[in-house]
């Protein structure tokens, strides 16, 4: 499904956005100027040797990459151990929850919602409801309109008592 929503922008707005984004790319390029210099140095071998070896540029890069590599390796070593531990400890035969738990019953839902089971059944069959919550976060029924789905409720002639908000 592809349903992208676009609006028509003014030419000025579009130009400003493109220009500002290009500016940020310029900033990004600024970050990599040492690398660009490296390429330029390549074409001037003597300067390259001077900057990279005699003045220690290459050593600095090596040192940075070595320390980055060490930290990245440590992160993945620790993470890898954690993932393996989880697989061994909780996966396969160690999975202690392999059977599906029973669905929540109407009585359980009624209990947590603060309703009687018959009320909960009627509520679950209503097409339109107006409700509120009391101070215990229990459902308060204000108004309801039944639907075809609530045939059971209608058969049992369950009425929905209006409950006032608790003080």
């Amino acid at each position: 499904m592809r349903q992208v929503r676009r609006k028509s922008e003014s030419q000025l707005q579009w130009t400003v956005e493109v220009a500002a984004t290009a500016l940020f790319w310029g900033l990004w390029a600024y970050f990599i100027t040492p690398l660009l210099s490296l390429v330029l140095w390549y074409f001037g071998y003597r300067v390259f040797v001077e900057e990279m070896f005699e003045l220690g540029g290459f050593e600095a890069l090596q040192e940075q990459l070595r320390s980055y590599g060490l930290v990245i390796f440590s992160i993945f070593f620790v993470t890898g151990c954690w993932v393996m531990y989880n697989r061994l400890r909780y996966g396969g035969a160690h999975n202690t929850r392999t059977h599906m738990l029973a669905p929540v019953t109407l009585v359980e839902t009624a209990d947590v919602a603060g309703l009687k089971p018959a009320q909960a059944e009627a509520v679950q069959g209503a097409k339109r409801l107006v409700v509120s919550f009391d101070d215990s976060d229990h459902l308060l029924l204000r108004k309801s309109r039944a639907t075809r789905a609530s045939t059971k409720a209608r058969k049992r002639r369950v009425s929905l008592p209006r409950r006032g908000r608790k003080a």
């Binding site: 929503r5 956005e17 970050f31």
Partner: protein, 415 residues
Amino acid sequence: MSISMEGVFYFVFFYPLFMAFFWMIGAVIFFIRHERNAHRPPMLPEYPFISVVVPCHNEGREIEDTIRKLAANAWPDYEIVAVNDGSSDDTGKVLDRLAQRVNRLRVVHLDRNFGKAMALRAGAYVARGEYLMCIDADTRLDHYAMHWMMAHMLNGARVGAVTGNPRILNRGSLLSRIQIGEFSSIIGMVRRSQRDVGRVFTVSGCHVCFRRRALHEVGYWSAETVTEDIDISWKLQLHYWDVRYEPRALAWIVMPETLRGLWRQRLRWAQGGIEAALKYASLLQAWTKRRMWPVYVEYLIGAIWCYAWAATVLCWIGTQLLPESWPAAFAVASILPKWTGVILAFVCLLQFTVGLYLDNHYEKGIFRNMFWAIWYPAMYWMISAIATIVAIPRAIYFRGKVRYATWRSPERGVA
């Protein structure tokens, strides 16, 4: 620069770098393990009844389109429970009118605004299904999203929730286009790598499927949290329920297109994160909760990073403005490191490329947005970092004082 300031400085630059590597490799591993070979919606052993719960607050402009798309979903047996959370616009009227035409739709009106968590609770209480698909009022669910999510539910007894892959629907402004890169390069990759580790920080509240048994066991959503999705994710996982991520379950969402809307959204996200961190801090002392430790520690380090970043920038500004009198121990001569800058710039680009490559499987042509991705580090890191810095004292101040956390929908700008 003193040794301690140098340590802060290196932390500020190294942390995003190493996390970027962590996310990239984690995301690629997840892709190879779970996504590479399956592209068609799965054939399921059964197609149980699902209740789709849609909480709405002042969503009169969006809700009709959402319900119409939802009513045409490919899942064979489901109901739609729309919960009008005390809207002051015409959301209630629109829903009542729609309910007369859409047989699957049932409408619940709350008599005042209780917040999203309570609206979801109301929806869950009146819903008939054991599986609750919760989507926002501005979320357009993909035709087969429920198939992908239910495959997890039916195959894993431990699965309590499955979160999907939200995509940006509106692309009419620079802000929304930048967020395309964010959702691919950050959110999608973080979710994938967190699943590799075993626990996720949060589901996407705009698009998530729950097993009612799991919700019932943890006491449903907490009314006092500003981000009910972060809270419920932690509650479920602390009760040993799995939270899965399914990138093939797509949903199209509307993101804020104004700076104020974006700021409010990010502030709320940041506040929700710190609320959860404070509420569940005791898990660090419990060996039985150890699977949540990496998520918790990652969040804490991220929050500390925001303050470290702010301290570094402030020290740099101080050094530039007061070169003579600024204490030498807190002097930062430059915030543009030499080779570190090069590596950061390339890692950033690499991260965008990997993220967009992965999501290109689900949204063809997304690479066109690479041009706009460059804004992300400059703007979103800063906005998110400042939001976190502001949110932490707010979360501490409001802790325990709010009964029902209500919030305004983000300003979306033009439709």
